[in-house]
Symmetry: D2
Subunit: 334 residues, 4 copies
Amino acid sequence: MTVNFAVLGAGRIGKVHARAIAGNPDARIVAVTDALPAAAEALSASTGAEIRSIEAIAKSADVDAVAICTPTDTHADLIELFARAGKAIFCEKPVDLSLARVQACLKVVDETKAPLMLGFNRRFDPDFRAVKAAVDRGDIGTVEMVTIVSRDPAPPPVEYIGRSGGIFRDMTIHDFDMARWLLGEEPDTVLAAASVLVDPAIGTAGDFDSVNVILRTASGRQAVITNTRRAAYGYDQRIEVLGSQGAVSADNTHQANIQIATATGYGRPPLLDFFMTRYVAAYANEIAAFIAALRDKTPMPVSGHDGLLALALAEAALKSVAEGRAVTVAEVTG
Amino acid sequence: MTVNFAVLGAGRIGKVHARAIAGNPDARIVAVTDALPAAAEALSASTGAEIRSIEAIAKSADVDAVAICTPTDTHADLIELFARAGKAIFCEKPVDLSLARVQACLKVVDETKAPLMLGFNRRFDPDFRAVKAAVDRGDIGTVEMVTIVSRDPAPPPVEYIGRSGGIFRDMTIHDFDMARWLLGEEPDTVLAAASVLVDPAIGTAGDFDSVNVILRTASGRQAVITNTRRAAYGYDQRIEVLGSQGAVSADNTHQANIQIATATGYGRPPLLDFFMTRYVAAYANEIAAFIAALRDKTPMPVSGHDGLLALALAEAALKSVAEGRAVTVAEVTG
Amino acid sequence: MTVNFAVLGAGRIGKVHARAIAGNPDARIVAVTDALPAAAEALSASTGAEIRSIEAIAKSADVDAVAICTPTDTHADLIELFARAGKAIFCEKPVDLSLARVQACLKVVDETKAPLMLGFNRRFDPDFRAVKAAVDRGDIGTVEMVTIVSRDPAPPPVEYIGRSGGIFRDMTIHDFDMARWLLGEEPDTVLAAASVLVDPAIGTAGDFDSVNVILRTASGRQAVITNTRRAAYGYDQRIEVLGSQGAVSADNTHQANIQIATATGYGRPPLLDFFMTRYVAAYANEIAAFIAALRDKTPMPVSGHDGLLALALAEAALKSVAEGRAVTVAEVTG
Amino acid sequence: MTVNFAVLGAGRIGKVHARAIAGNPDARIVAVTDALPAAAEALSASTGAEIRSIEAIAKSADVDAVAICTPTDTHADLIELFARAGKAIFCEKPVDLSLARVQACLKVVDETKAPLMLGFNRRFDPDFRAVKAAVDRGDIGTVEMVTIVSRDPAPPPVEYIGRSGGIFRDMTIHDFDMARWLLGEEPDTVLAAASVLVDPAIGTAGDFDSVNVILRTASGRQAVITNTRRAAYGYDQRIEVLGSQGAVSADNTHQANIQIATATGYGRPPLLDFFMTRYVAAYANEIAAFIAALRDKTPMPVSGHDGLLALALAEAALKSVAEGRAVTVAEVTG
């Protein structure tokens, strides 16, 4: 079986997913679309796929699945449209920045029973998968603590900050998902602290650039997440899980695996400094997992509900900072 | 100049300090004491020093300094006694488990102007000092975040838990001191989460065994501390400081610096699993620093006030757990 | 400009190179061939290229370049054929196992001025290139010593040993090339020791499985190569270059970049254990370099002469083992 | 039982051994001697031991053992003197630079049955012992290859080179001993290459500064040793043993176990750069092993014969370089 895709959005991430689909032996791209004609044409040229309108794609009998790579504020509408059109949907995270809108959208997905996978790419990174596999094999006993350090090489443009939903919804959201995935229990309480240390303009825009978050589950398992918008040495992405019988961790990826020793000491290159190079394998694996789930008719490896719960943690973190107290997830999901 | 010491307490830690003093070219031990005659005799035999009563030591003209290595609940009284007797005082941490008692004791120390150094040994670990030196040299720019992972190999006996003052006052206290030392600003707010995951008996005793703490300073710098009472792989002691231009970290110390590669993978030995082997150099360096400060008439590298502030953070952490909210240091110091 | 390729040989390595060519934006495959019709058909199906005979390819006006991926004993004849046919040639190493045959073949290449690149893939490994770049930048001063450890995970089938030309021509040949590349001077003397330690059948076949080689240049620079046909922990590929001001080294690649710590110690996964996974990036880079050299009309990054000199070192090593003495390269090249 | 020592030679290494003896609970120093009165007096003052002449020490009933730390050219005579005087002997390596003189000296030792331990300190380094323990436990199966990298931070003064016996007898000798210790079989053939790359004055003095050596045992096991007199990054001391089921290695020791990450990459401090700091534990352990062997009446852990065989390998290496061929140990031991 070959899955026929339409790729919606021909920007940076759309091209990444298009390449992954084109390289997958069980899939091909039949249609592309983008609000900018030039972008659509470029992607059409490199993939050989037709340019069609969104409406035409929704009606195309030869399209089995859509990959939604458009701006965030279009995601929920497109998910609803294609769910009703009977297509399988791969959507870049997030569904929406508003919890209420996500809940409404997922209601449509549930009603239509449309297969929906949300693009939390980190779950598909080979090293993080190896961590998860070790946890699942019981190598470290019962999970107790998850520690995540996640730092961007440099902050995004301040104009992006304004429409990002803020650091918790934009950046920590990935770590919330990783924490949920690794804790093996749902966090029910959130404690967070947030500062502006990197760039005062981020504060002026109403956001933070340096945060720490503690998550706690009902049985007392905890996760601690440390995020900053600037790490001079590259894109810092580390996770560790402590269990009753040990710990498993994934370390960073350097630009090359070499070492230079001189009179001043031993040096290694900085880390990969861009999420697309750091997670190049993760992006390919995630599309492969979506295709495999469609082919094998198994549940999607990341559901819309996963997106909802990560967003709820972000809301709770924001409330925790604002009110200086522990906030339960129930308080924000209503 | 040679500093003449009396060692008070001939137990495990007393022997460690006695060895460090005996090996220091600028110091010697002239008297020892212990409530247990056999312990006092053993230490007297190995050091060649006389056994004297505490009262006699306080009156001994040939004693310049005392090393207080007795049980915690005697520390404050002994500090006051020897401060009034005009002796220089090295005291194992803590001064006391009660913040009010510490405050009263330090009032006496201030009035008598007695030199007092508190034994926060980690500040004297060669690797942690190298981290501090890098920070002080400006290698990483302005400090923003401190991350401390500190895990014991195994919990202490439950009967000890009862008189330990609890995990924050007994274990995290070291990390509070490290955080203060490395942040370069006083933390003013504490957020903490605490669980019982290792042994339910610890919970029955009214304590926790797994905690995470976030500290925040007035300018927004943060420290995050993760503690557990059990790490199957040894005594886990890591610190990292992130600054505007980079990060510096100290890694763990393994039992040997070897690697065994077989069909199942690459293996390294577990960590050193006892604080006395892990911090053997720190203990020697800390006594040397005390002696050097006396000799050079410079301020003590760790003051009673440092002990007070670390304890205040512990109190605030405890209150944060109890009340589920951010607690300021001012709330607990009154 | 697009380079039109014919791929000769549709076996394991032919498929690797076909994939690299297909993925290169400046190249495409127009023809494939293989002695086994089924193999040719499979490669034709996956690439969309026509099946043609070798003779037809030599005469095809639409073929600019050939990738020779056929058995070793056909390489020299094919190189001569396609050099005379005016095609650019990428040939898997070696040109031939006989030094005299290589010399004769390269004479034809020189006469026809055909562009010929030999597939010493390791020069294109990202980590080894980073080592070379550090050397070329002068990071370690003047090169003095090169140390290469190269171990296969497991020996090849004994029947392969018989037609491999022996360990020096089959396995060490890669390290001879790396040594030449990194020393910055031609080795003129070879000292070698060889044993059978892994499998007596390898000895019965007239070969060795465990060797050490020292190369020396006229100015006294040295390289030492250690090879074995079995490393339980994976495909062990390390290089180090020592210079007057330091050293640079490339370490191995593990199956995942994770660490599991338990009561028995810290473990990392074994190494990648197959040359095709270990050198996946190298294979893609090497074809890209061939295409770029054709496009830019620059010299081939690895010439037939490089193949000849590596083979001469292998011959000298063999003679050194047989005669128990230092052998000069001049003795074998005549 | 307490072993009473006389320390012969109060220079750098004499002080190291004196400190180790003084710190050992089963030993004490009763006498010291040195050709320079000031040196003898200083050591006497710091140890509390009497100054006695060599002759007096030989006749002292209260001296059980001597530690010979005098210049190399006195070792053989002193060993013979004290062997005949019935003392146990710890002697810094080497016994002598002349193989014939060593053989004559060991004949006296054998006749007198005097306990003699030679100071090959590296066998007592904790990391190298952990390597040996792994080999002895069978963790890596049957030993096949030993790889030793040993580089000094900087060459010794050229005047020292002249009386050192040359790099093989002075520096490689340690690695020959390690190779013998780890191979588990006696090497019978030596191949060596030697260059002058660091300082032409070393060549003028008749020596080399950069060498590689291959040792081979009767069954085909091999060791490869790479030595240079200069490593800008510190005192480089690495060993690796490959066996049929894996490999075990010991890595270098850095000045501190920290890492600094900035925009230019990750940095670690250089290596310890002095043999006395690098091998501080080894020196203490080696004296303890000598004392333990005396106390337990077990064989000395390093015999005079070990010194003889390491020296024979050095002679064979020198001959291999001179004659450009493989040299057997039998050729030099006669």
